[in-house]
Symmetry: none
């Protein structure tokens, strides 16, 4: 939670409802040929109309210059200091493919890799082998057994897989096997704390067996493991804000993130269309809705400016369906920028709009980076957005006499 003392003293539960639409990778950057960003290029009649009734601003997800992953990006929007609350790579990878995780279980991100006859790495990603080649190998790894620990290996995509360790007395306080460069040998796992001996030993046994099992492979003849992590214990979102939150997301990772902060995750969505239907169906049962739109990020990551523009236009068409519900506070925000010209997550401040009964007169000119920078809220830390949501919803009383 944000570093605010006695938040509980000023938060009230009320009947008002908040919808936070998180557009993944929402923010962009101007194309060098046109000087216009993806949002500025897109035809967004609904969002631009909405902006004119909304307070505009920009969120800095972590710090200027820091491009966050989906974990920190979302945690900040949920009001958690992303420098204080951290979800490990292994856990996020597992959540991203719907592998159920419980406290005390340890997850690691795995890569297939290539080693030479001397045991030194020649490719840390096994020539980026495709999924159809990697999946059966992951299934092979899943047959490995180590005494005293339950192992699960699940293919993710391409050369990536997840290893989950289950059992008594495990710990994520172990070193990684990836030396982060070719020409070096994979590293043995070492415990970083006395309670991590069992885990280190089990992982080293797994790696030795994996090398055996993969020894006939040309490219994927070794594994690298990193990001050993356990499910963290964060303050409960609903309890801290006195809300009954619902998370609606088609992609498993975002359901996983919501689950980590204790939101009720509504299952059964496989598209944004189904997400919007779910929003309507569950409207009466909750007072806070996190709803996730994935496709802008994917197009941005591909470096496909025109495709990102198109995903934003497709999203725009859904806005009236959400407004039909008359949320007391409606926020459109992003977990981070994914500028197409970077083909990667960016550090740029991300535009947002917030509409409530109080914002009718202070509208932003349009919904894009430039107009929102000049909006009435200005540029804020993403972790403070929840405070504005609560205030506009009439759920925060005055601080101090």
């Amino acid at each position: 939670m944000i570093d605010f003392p006695d938040l509980a003293d000023i938060v009230e539960s009320t009947p008002s409802k908040i919808v936070m639409l998180v557009v993944d990778g929402l923010g962009g950057a101007p194309h060098p040929d046109t000087g216009k960003s993806e949002l500025e290029t897109a035809n967004l009649p609904n969002l631009n109309r909405l902006a004119r009734e909304s307070a505009g601003g920009r969120t800095v997800p972590v710090l200027p210059g820091i491009a966050p992953g989906s974990g920190p990006g979302h945690l900040a929007l949920f009001g958690y200091d992303p420098l204080k609350y951290f979800i490990g790579r292994g856990v996020l990878e597992a959540l991203g493919i719907d592998v159920p995780l419980k406290k005390g279980e340890v997850a690691a991100r795995g890569n297939f890799a290539t080693i030479g006859g001397d045991g030194l790495l020649t490719d840390r990603r096994a020539g980026r082998i495709p999924s159809n080649e990697a999946k059966p190998l992951a299934e092979l790894l899943n047959t490995i057994e180590v005494a005293g620990v339950d192992l699960e290996v699940r293919h993710v995509e391409g050369y990536r897989f997840v290893l989950v360790l289950r059992g008594q007395g495990l710990s994520d306080k172990v070193t990684e096997t990836d030396p982060q460069r070719t020409g070096a040998a994979p590293l043995p796992v070492k415990p970083l704390a006395p309670e991590a001996w069992k885990t280190a030993d089990a992982v080293n046994q797994f790696v030795a067996q994996a090398r055996e099992v993969l020894s006939t492979q040309k490219r994927a003849n070794m594994v690298l493991l990193r990001g050993f992590s356990e499910l963290p214990s964060f303050p409960n979102f609903g309890k801290a804000y006195k809300l009954k939150p619902a998370a609606i997301a088609a992609y498993p990772m975002y359901r996983g993130l919501a689950q980590v902060v204790g939101m009720e995750v509504i299952p059964g969505c496989h598209s944004f269309e189904e997400e919007v239907q779910t929003l309507h169906r569950t409207w009466k049962e909750h007072d806070f809705f996190y709803i996730h739109y994935k496709y802008a990020d994917a197009a941005g990551e591909d470096g496909n400016f025109a495709a990102k523009v198109k995903t934003l236009e497709e999203m725009d068409a859904y806005i009236p369906r959400i407004l039909e519900l008359s949320p007391d506070v409606f926020i459109v925000a992003g977990d981070h920028a994914t500028p197409s010209i970077m083909a990667a997550h960016g550090w740029q401040p991300v535009p947002f709009l917030l509409r409530s009964k109080l914002t009718k007169g202070e509208g932003a000119a349009a919904f894009n980076e430039r107009a929102c920078a000049a909006g009435s809220i200005g540029t804020i830390q993403a972790q403070h957005l929840m405070l504005l949501a609560l205030s506009h919803a009439g759920k925060l009383i005055k601080y101090g006499p």
Copy 2:
């Protein structure tokens, strides 16, 4: 004080003079019909002219979304982190009606309330009884005696009063009697620390006697007490900034706030006219002047947009009288927004202007929320404003070699 290491090393005392005019509840929000805020609607020839020679900006009193009371709002403008320095409700209420308080004395905010025959609360504010009905009852409570403690009860306004406990061995570490809801019984006061037994016992005796004394009343037949607090010990404003500060305020609470940070409070003002006269009279004796304008907040709290516009126009007429003194730095700022459309303190950033010999070329277009957001200073934490005041006055030297 703000979290700046070695401030003392870079602050110098110089002959330059700073005037900080704090307009209570200065900030507003656009009216939904016109899209213009109170400041944008008002005819402010002097302030708008001044803005064109001033650096403009906006202050965030505490955090985005947090609407502060007068205490945190003023402390931030004086450079105190409002999340670290806190003045209790009882103390602020006592200061607000000029009840003298010394260290070690405990003040509480009191409400008259209504209980039924079963002892359960039916109205936490005794039907909001008017002052003429409540004042004699407060005087009745003032006759209550408890062994070992001096009690003082003073009527504030409507259903509100202040209880002050004086004597040896008192502590504010006690629980409140207000259960914060009707249908519940008032709570007994409990000590939260070993040194608070005497206080808890004395307050419980007071409440028992108050219930007796009020038993014939229909509405105000009980009291509720909360916000037990002592005068806090804050770093001295004048010492920290090497200033000889004067506080000029017609309303007692603001004199009280200035007293808490150790300013010299100039007595004898009952109107803003008298405040401005006092500013002229004491000009030679001080190098920092905090001068307070109350009326904008009152109109905003009433939700009276037109009245707030009028109070701002009345304030504008005084600006030339202040400028006559040629302060080296003149600041017009607000402790918080009080948007008329909210009829309450708001969380919105508050516009300010700062004029010094250095700002002539960087003028803001006008004095209002929008123009100041686009001003040369931008949006800052309120607690940093004093640093700008000192720098523009030539009182802050370079930090670090």
